[in-house]
Structures are given as C-alpha cells and as structure tokens.
Symmetry: C2
Subunit: 171 residues, 2 copies
C-alpha cells in the first residue's frame, strides 16, 4: 500500500473505462442515427454539467489530484472538446500526463498538506485525506455521472463497463 | 495508511452523506407536496435500479466489503424498505455494523484473497485490489446514482452534500 498505488491505478483504470464507455456511446449513436452532439449535451437536470463537461471534469480530477500529490503544478487543459473523438484525445492526454509523474514523490505525500482551489476559496487537506475523501470520490462521481447520462440516453452499458479492467479472477 | 483507514472512514463519510441527502429529499418532498414514494421509485432508465435500491445497494457495498475484509461473513439484510425513514434506519444499521468490525483484522487483509458473489459466479481479488478497484468504486457509484436521481427530480443538493463531512480546512 503506497500513495502512488492508491491513486495512479484508480485513475488509469477509471479513465480507460470512461474511454471504452464513450466508444460504446459512439457506436450507439451511429447505430441509432443519433447526432453524437445530442449525447454530449445531455444533462440530468438543467443546472448540472452536460456529458462533455462530466468527461472533462473526470479527466481534470485525475490530472490535478495526481499532480498535486506529486508536488507538481497541474497543467491547465482548455475545455474545447465538442466531439467524442476530441474527448478521447483529452482522456489519452490525461493518461499520458499521469504516467509522467514521479511515483516516489506521490508516495511521500501521505501527510503533506495539499492546497487546491475550491470555488473562490482554497481547500487544505493532508495528502491521504485529499486522495481518499476528495479526489477519488470526485473522480468516481464524474465517471458515474457520465455513465448515468449515457444510460439515461439508452446506451447499453453495465456495471462492468464502469468498473473497467480490474485485477479480478472469476470462477 | 492502513486497510482499515482506507475503508472504514470512506464508508462512514459516504453513508452519513447519503443520510443527509435523504433528509434534504424528504424536506423537498414535503415543501413541494411530492409523495416521497415517487422519489424512491424514480430511476434514470427503465432497467436501472430505482432510488430505494440504489440506497440499499450502497449500504450493502459498505457492509459486505468491510465484513469481507475483516474476514467475517456479511449479515444479510432484507430489502424491505419503502419509506425514507426506513432507508435512514438501514443506513444507521449499516453504520452500526461497520463499527463492530475489528480494524486489526481489516489491516491484515491487504494481500489476502477476498471471494465474493458476482451474479452466478464468484469474484476473487486481493484485499487491496478489492477495496480500491471494486468496493470503493461500487460504493461511490451507488451513492452518486442516488444523488443523480434526486438531482434529476429537482432536489437542491450539491457536490458538498455528496462529499459529506470531510477533514478539510477552507481559507
């Protein structure tokens, strides 16, 4: 158990799951002759984020949290995606960034204070608390909400798609 | 970092957050003269779980995962709730059960194989992988989906309600 293996694999598995879910959404849109932009702009309530922003935010949670734990200033990615393939590129770019981080630096962050923007304020949490009670719940929240929007639109995905490729043996 | 503090506080914070969200749902139903049963039976798509089952499942993820990590057979709770106050009792019962578990036993589960039902099959994962890549994502998934159903119904809750009471300082 280390901070790096409590964080990096969770983000990588979740981002890869999200990419695979978006592949299924694209195939569904094609098969049902739905404009993919309709899916990307669907939201569960008028003041919630639409799918495109749920994906952007999931990526940013992974990027920002892993950068902060590594003691690196998170790079800022513009939110300009308007197609599923652009979102796939955003996910791939995020995965590539996460792989550049120094696992040893992340491992040293357990008790280090992490400071992060919180609306107009700043939040402060110890590394371990930040990962377990802010970064991972937020990351899972946005991946789940992306999944829920697509389920709500009739895309045929299931819990296995959400969990992604995990180290599980089935008998 | 221990298995017990990677699991128990996440479940406790999440279950308490879910209870507070249900309090807001009940107040919303009362203020808007909505039958709470309508909220409890709302689902985001016809073959998804309704709110009542999302809450039951979130409770069961917390109960079953923490029990299995502690090496205890999870008690089975019947799914009989039909009101918000009955769901609150289910959450309270789950929280009380989780507190009975031996943290030292959970701490010893990092590399122990956890076996759990998976539809008609059985899943097998090491304790750490089971917690990080199955139990916590599943738990967050069902709390998020309960939240999303209520947001979809117009209940005024926000991300802070989802995150719950966490060890964060704000400046």
């Amino acid at each position: 158990m280390t901070m790096s293996n409590a964080s990096l694999p969770s983000f990588e598995i979740g981002l890869n799951a999200l990419a695979a879910i978006l592949d299924k959404a694209e195939a569904h849109a094609k098969a049902k002759k739905i404009d993919p932009a309709v899916l990307l702009n669907t939201r569960l309530f008028p003041d919630m984020f639409a799918l495109v922003r749920q994906v952007q935010t999931a990526c940013d949670q992974a990027k920002n949290a892993s950068a902060r734990l590594a003691g690196v200033e998170p790079p800022r990615y513009e939110d300009t995606e308007t197609t599923i393939s652009e979102l796939q590129a955003r996910i791939a770019r995020t995965l590539a960034f996460v792989k550049t981080l120094d696992a040893n630096k992340i491992d040293a962050s357990v008790d280090r204070e992490i400071t992060f923007p919180l609306g107009p304020n700043r939040g402060h949490m110890k590394g371990w608390d930040y990962l377990m009670h802010f970064a991972l719940p937020n990351f899972h929240f946005h991946v789940t909400t992306a999944y829920n929007i697509l389920r709500h639109c009739g895309v045929e995905i299931g819990k296995r798609d959400f969990l992604g490729v995990i180290p599980m043996k089935i008998t």
